[in-house]
Symmetry: C2
Subunit: 139 residues, 2 copies
DNA sequence: CGGTATCCAACTGGATACTG
DNA sequence: CAGTATCCAGTTGGATACCG
């Protein structure tokens, strides 16, 4: 109790956790890789094939980050040709389980979101025209 | 059943859902805004103060996207001075609930992850030196 | 008060070529 | 096979100034 906590709300606490979790799995590929390791260890090229669309560069970077965070392990087998396998740690497994509710939510609401977007865009189309430049930046 | 599904695994299905959910809440601010609306409707400037660190530009953009996706509603009160309030929709509330397990996971494992990173970085420091360029890119 | 417009620095991620 | 190196396009997001 340092007497300076003017905001005892839990939202404050959430902020740093959201940063942490988004910094770890908020990127384009991490969760996909984690899911592909769920059934057991896999090799680099297996992952590259099954994640589909990922480049070597991104797969390597994603695996390194997840390894650094203790989500998975990297095992090098010194044979010819080279053989490297990746496997989830116990922590990695619990992470994946923690993402399941969000995944279920997504499955349930994807259609509703599409709907909401279509309605929003339709309403936006009926807005009064701008003086000169129409599309505002479009970024 | 187009007979061409060579991969009946559910991972395939997850991919598009992860994209969808990350496209919606995987950015820097969305989840923070959603959390701040949990206790009830709030005004633009209240949100700007309580999210702390967010710029007008990003708060506006974040709110627009969440509104478009049906996560929250925007209500304009035509008084002087202007008054706009934002509130979670039922869908927004369920979204927030779906993120709770991930938040709890984060709270439980933050220290472990820091630990894993420190160990990884220590091991990386003991690696044999590269021929010329040491830090690989570091962009 | 609640935005919009503009500019710009930093980061993400894809394509390609090369290495042990 | 499993990376690493380089280059480059596209996007994110902050600072600032201005508007209804």
């Amino acid at each position: 109790m340092t007497a300076t906590d003017s905001e005892p709300e839990p939202v404050r606490q959430d902020a740093s956790r959201f940063r942490a979790v988004l910094g770890m799995v908020g990127d384009k590929w991490s969760l996909l890789v984690v899911c592909n390791l769920e059934e057991g260890p896999r090799r680099f090229s297996e992952l590259k094939r099954s994640v589909d669309g990922i480049s070597q560069r991104m797969l390597t970077a994603t695996l390194r980050n997840l390894e650094r965070d203790g989500i998975l392990t990297r095992t090098v087998h010194n044979v010819m040709p080279p053989h490297v396998s990746y496997a989830l740690t116990p922590m990695g497994s619990t992470l994946r389980e923690a993402t399941l509710p969000l995944l279920e939510w997504s499955a349930e609401h994807l259609a509703l979101i599409d709907d909401a977007r279509a309605q929003y865009d339709t309403r936006a189309d009926t807005r009064p025209p701008s003086p000169s430049g129409s599309t505002p930046d479009s970024r």
